[in-house]
């Protein structure tokens, strides 16, 4: 029998605090070798490929989490086109969990909710280990959409945010963000009306936009800043990458084949040797970035299925404990 869970059941048992802890543990597991995460495989539905013309993709992201002894996969879509016209969010997804010894399927649940939480949590956990021991920081945020909210909520689980500068091409979105997040951000939220105002005196810059025009300029970045290009397309100038004192990624293979560094990697200007360390190595105390106060750091968490599967297993255990889920004879096992 396989348990099928509704989105409401899932949302009732797991929150950002849980996912920040899970992501931290799972990054450590990746570095220790007890979390297995093959490079994700993309089904291109027109994001880059000419056919089919749906302006989207699905990524298959399997993982094994040794410290939970669970195998799972997230299949996650990011589609614009008709989906955007229908008013649906960019991301949709499902997660399957399996017993890795028996090969039986124990759970089917949503994958988008966990994707959103863990994408925020990745940034927060990376900042935790880059700024070891720090209690508070200032954040610059490009993009006041759903991920903008989630990134901020995740960072607020780990740090007091003293100042948050937010810019959105649609200023009312930034103003709405300011209202929405006023109880999450301890300090002040400053709405910027030009993108170059954001990097003022911040410790971290996060870009979560649909931009493809490399809007983030290298000349804006001060020493002592970590830049997180989190959007799906080209948000930052190549020079932001090339001038970095350290490059931190979540998964070396994926970082070279997808996201902000892909074009430089394809051109041979960035290689595996250009990558300083992984978030996992920082989490496991296997690498020390030294004094980061005057460093320009680039951090790229492309996203690994392990983060999703680990959070899904926590949710699964809690839902089972609460008697949630519906037994379904999907596979006859």
């Amino acid at each position: 029998m396989t348990k099928v869970f509704t989105i409401d059941e899932l949302k009732s048992v797991i929150n950002m605090k849980d996912v920040v802890e899970s992501v931290d543990r799972t990054f450590k597991g990746l570095a220790e070798g007890v979390v297995i995460n093959p490079t994700k495989v993309t089904l291109d539905l027109g994001e880059n490929a000419p056919y089919p013309p749906y302006d989207g993709f699905f990524n298959a992201m399997p993982a094994y989490i040794g410290y939970q002894d669970v195998a799972g996969i997230k299949w996650v879509g990011g589609i614009l086109g008709e989906r955007k016209k229908a008013g649906l969010p960019f991301i949709s997804g499902m997660i399957l969990l399996a017993n890795p010894r028996l090969g039986t399927f124990k759970a089917v649940m949503d994958g988008a909710y966990i994707t959103n939480l863990r994408t925020g949590a990745q940034t927060a956990v990376a900042l935790k280990h880059i700024y070891k021991g720090r209690k508070s920081l200032n954040v610059g945020l490009y993009g006041a959409g759903m991920q903008g909210h989630t990134q901020t909520a995740a960072i607020a689980e780990v740090f007091d945010i003293d100042k948050l500068y937010v810019y959105d091409v649609y200023t009312p979105a930034a103003e709405k963000f300011q209202q929405d997040m006023k109880d999450v951000v301890k300090g002040e939220i400053i709405v910027c009306d030009a993108p170059e105002q954001v990097p003022e005196d911040v410790d971290a810059i996060i870009t979560v936009t649909q931009a493809k025009d490399s809007f983030l300029k290298a000349e804006w970045i001060r020493p002592g800043t970590v830049v997180f290009p989190m959007g799906s397309y080209k948000e930052i100038e190549d020079e932001v990458i090339l001038q970095s004192d350290a490059i931190v990624v979540d998964h070396v293979g994926q970082a070279l084949h997808r996201g902000a560094m892909k074009s430089l990697a394809d051109a041979g200007k960035i290689t595996a040797e250009s990558i300083t360390t992984t978030i996992g190595e920082l989490a496991a105390d296997m690498y020390d970035l030294g004094d980061v106060s005057e460093k320009k750091i680039l951090c790229i968490p492309i996203g690994t299925g392990a983060m999703d599967v680990a959070a899904a297993e926590i949710a699964y255990q809690r839902m089972i404990a609460k008697g949630m889920g519906t037994d379904f004879n999907i596979t006859g096992e």
Copy 2:
């Protein structure tokens, strides 16, 4: 809402004849470019990797089927170890189907039943196009387990089987096969007590065993035979591959990275240039093998997710038409 289907619902709507037709159409689509099938990604749970030690794997196999306008993924496990001890079959799997324009998930169903049918169907469809116009043939079969039955049933959908030689390391299994399949095979089923008796006067040799010892010897293969190494491990001598007059595969990328040709490909003795054509090119009349009566042909269908997704979509349409399935608010969409 997502429809969840039980294994009984699925089995009631689709049979081998359906899947043979679906596989034929989908191979053609692969060659025409209207079926998109990225190389599968393996989560190794100890099949080759040292950790975790579960003697198995899960493969993530996404595909887009243009002629059905459906996207889907099969996540399929092949596990020995504890699963075998529990008396469960080698393969377990689940299939998810999505609307590729909207990114919404429309179906969750079993993946093992369709895997078994389509793995048989692949062989039958390949033989159909290699032996164009032939009505009957003789088959040699190594392995009288579940896939032995399925391979035979599939070939019997396309050809009259005049003679079938079967060998199994466990002779009672071969004798049971003889009983089980006497109404499926038109002609005689001959149980062999030594492996070298199988290739006598056959047009096709199929190995569907768990052997890892290269038991199929090159010297046994006569001209005018197609060899299908269908097991998960090393069933045939490298010389069987190297002496072939033609090599036909389902997916060039996968054929070099998995299955019978992997070790030769890793050693550089087989490359993409060694591959003569694909089953899809034969199905689409884009390649002609010429007179095959004196040729030694090797055919390796590693298995593509497209075959599973296409068959699952047929089953989905039929189950919906019959009012089957249970609506479930898994994703909130």
